[in-house]
């Protein structure tokens, strides 16, 4: 069953097209990674799904129903975890969840049970009566999640839920995402941390300049770039290094220097490793390490967009 369908979704701000003819479907039970650099159209798309922005053209369907005609139905099945922490500092953790869950029509005993369940889920049961101003960044992020899930939505949109928190809290949130998924929630997950997306997402879409430029499982995306390989060569000194000479070697597409590691992106079908090593020997540069990198999502993203995810 499709939890979310977008057909020819377009959003314009004046003459600027922020989202351009996006067609995408997300199945029930997926953790869907949505990647894009700042300004790529990722947040605009997410905001249109959540009902924060109107779409200029196209169609959005939640659980088979058009959101324009079934606004209340669609909203009641969505949980939004905003990128910026959106909680009231002067309400306790319990009161925050209770208030937001109350907006979804929960009342009485059911409300109480689901609020307690949400608190337990994010590990804040013992902080129920505490005010968020006494919380660490990670705890606030967890409360931010609890406020979005207490009404048990079918579709949870998580917009960079791990920004600016410690590794322990990040791990907690990532395991929570998996647990939510196991409980039957479909999740749209955006992050600037590629390793997070690679770790938890079952399917990924990459958006650039408002268009979906790639979509599929991790393996499918990596397969897109099997025509290139990355060779990393560790050296002692870059003093006599001439990058222009390296770029002349057959098959080499791009050369970057990061401290004392030379990162070479080359065509996969050209066997040029020997020639590259010979260049270093001839230039009198001592080689410490040589590694051939397997393609990862960073490489995929860089190859497809020409930029790093965090650019």
């Amino acid at each position: 069953m499709k939890v979310l369908e977008m057909k020819h979704l377009t959003r314009k701000f004046g003459d600027f097209i922020a989202v351009d003819n996006v067609t995408l479907a997300i199945d029930e039970g997926e953790i869907f990674g949505f990647l894009g650099t700042n300004g790529a159209g990722k947040s605009t798309t997410i905001n249109m799904i959540a009902g924060l922005l109107h779409h200029t053209k196209g169609e959005i369907r939640i659980l088979g129903k058009d959101v324009t005609k079934n606004k209340k139905f669609a909203k009641s099945h969505i949980g939004m975890v905003p990128q910026d922490i959106a909680i009231y500092e002067d309400l306790t953790a319990y009161e925050n969840i209770q208030f937001f869950a109350g907006l979804y029509g929960l009342r009485g005993q059911k409300l109480k049970e689901q609020v307690e369940e949400a608190l337990k889920f994010v590990g804040l049961s013992d902080k129920a009566k505490s005010f968020p101003k006494t919380f660490s960044g990670g705890m606030k992020r967890r409360l931010n999640i609890a406020c979005a899930i207490a009404h048990r939505p079918k579709l949870i949109i998580m917009d960079e839920p791990t920004v600016g928190i410690d590794p322990q809290s990040r791990n907690y949130i990532l395991s929570s995402v998996r647990k939510l998924n196991e409980m039957g929630c479909t999740i749209i997950y955006t992050s600037h941390y590629m390793e997070e997306v690679e770790e938890i997402c079952s399917r990924i879409a990459i958006i650039d300049h408002g268009k979906i430029i790639a979509e599929g499982t991790k393996e499918q995306l990596k397969a897109i770039i099997t025509n290139t390989k990355d060779i990393w060569i560790g050296i002692n000194s870059t003093d006599t290094l001439d990058l222009s000479q390296l770029k002349l070697i057959n098959g080499v597409k791009e050369v970057k220097v990061e401290e004392d590691v030379i990162k070479i992106n080359s065509s996969a079908d050209v066997n040029n490793l020997n020639t590259i090593i010979q260049y270093f020997i001839a230039a009198g540069i001592e080689i410490r390490t040589v590694e051939e990198q397997a393609p990862n999502l960073d490489t995929v993203f860089l190859t497809l967009t020409g930029r790093n995810l965090r650019d």
């Binding site: 009902g51 924060l52 922005l53 909203k75 009641s76 959106a86 309400l91 907006l103 029509g105 406020c147």
Partner: protein
């Protein structure tokens, strides 16, 4: 239900905010205490009449003399003490030397009075008493000539011969300093509700919770009404506390029509909330809306007589005063309390609610045009 949920949340947050409590509760009470105490002399409207010595010379015939004698005896308990001048005394000189409050010469045809310039109020008091006596005497003389049978009904023995009827100002009819500042500080603080109202919706945007509200399955109208309802209720409760505190602790006079007074205050609170909300949509930054609201409130407070009484002198000043919401609110409440006159209260309420509608419409239209709140 969502409206109540939103309103309760709003109130809970407001009452937990120490700054709000200080501003809406402590601030007006402290100002009342300071201004009501420090400026109490400016509102003092009574002059105590104690021991006014009056010298008189009586050279009239028996009937006039007897009547005057009765008059002086009748005043012996009122603080005015009459002393008959001896033949050798110069009454005018004695008054000039401020030995007496007045000197009276009684003859058959007239009564002359010379008053001391030391205390004009004392002089006025004696003059008023004498006038009453003369009027009464003339009336009796006329009745005696025209209808002697009716004389018994108007003579001093008839029981209606009091020359002085004490008509001291009724305690309700004029506010003292505390009474005055209880009203003006309360109405001023009610208007200050506009400051917090400018954050009602904008505040949600600033802390990011607007996103959650818009994403939830509730309409913008519910959010709007719930927020306003909460804001108004908070202000109303704080105002009620201030009014009751001033009434029972400071003994400020709020009159006998507290319901009407409170109705005017509620409409003023609605005006303040609407004004603040409207301004938040008419300006781009919170700083700009706060600055405009502060200037408007301070001008309204100044011309509305919040800090000191502003006399209605006519002309431009009068026109400017009429534009102050505090002026019409204070005037309406004062009229209700001290004159039992409800008409200005109805006018003020309609004016407050009418202007509120304008600002609310501005906010509703602006909100409708926005994506999000």
């Amino acid at each position: 239900m969502n409206i109540i949920n939103l309103a309760l949340k709003e109130m809970k947050r407001d009452f937990r905010d120490l700054r709000t409590l200080i501003f809406l509760l402590a601030f007006p009470i402290v100002l009342m205490l300071i201004l009501g105490t420090a400026l109490s002399s400016d509102f003092n409207t009574t002059t105590e009449v104690v021991d006014i010595p009056v010298l008189y010379k009586d050279s009239a015939n028996q009937s006039v003399s007897q009547a005057f004698q009765t008059f002086t005896e009748g005043l012996s308990d009122s603080g005015v003490h009459f002393k008959k001048a001896t033949e050798t005394m110069d009454g005018k000189k004695a008054v000039k030397e401020n030995k007496y409050g007045a000197y009276i010469e009684v003859t058959n045809s007239q009564i002359k009075m010379y008053e001391s310039n030391k205390n004009s109020i004392e002089g006025s008091v004696i003059e008023g008493m004498l006038s009453a006596f003369v009027d009464k005497y003339n009336m009796i003389s006329t009745v005696a000539k025209v209808s002697p049978n009716a004389l018994s009904k108007v003579t001093p023995n008839s029981g209606e011969a009091n020359f002085i009827k004490e008509t001291g100002l009724h305690s309700l009819k004029k506010p003292g300093a505390m009474d005055y500042y209880a009203i003006t500080m309360t109405t001023m603080i009610a208007l200050f509700g506009a400051m917090s109202a400018s954050y009602l919706i904008r505040g949600e945007r600033i802390i990011g919770t607007a996103t959650r509200l818009v994403v939830a399955p509730i309409s913008k109208a519910e959010i709007f009404i719930g927020k306003i309802f909460g804001g108004v209720l908070t202000s109303v409760l704080c105002t009620l506390i201030v009014v009751l505190f001033s009434k029972y602790v400071f003994k400020a006079n709020w009159g006998e029509h507290l319901g009407i007074v409170f109705f005017v205050l509620i409409t003023e609170i609605v005006l303040a909330i609407s004004f603040g909300l409207g301004m938040s949509y008419m300006t781009k930054t919170s700083g700009a809306s706060q600055a405009i609201i502060m200037v408007v409130i301070q001008l309204a407070a100044f011309f509305g007589g919040a800090y000191f009484q502003v006399e209605d002198g006519g002309g431009l000043m009068n026109n400017v005063m009429q534009l102050s919401p505090l002026h019409w609110a204070n005037h309406a409440i004062t009229q209700v309390i001290y004159s039992d006159n409800m008409t200005p209260a109805i006018h003020a309420a309609f004016l407050n609610l009418g202007i509120s509608v304008v600002f609310l419409l501005i906010a509703i239209i602006s909100m409708g045009r926005r994506e999000g709140l």
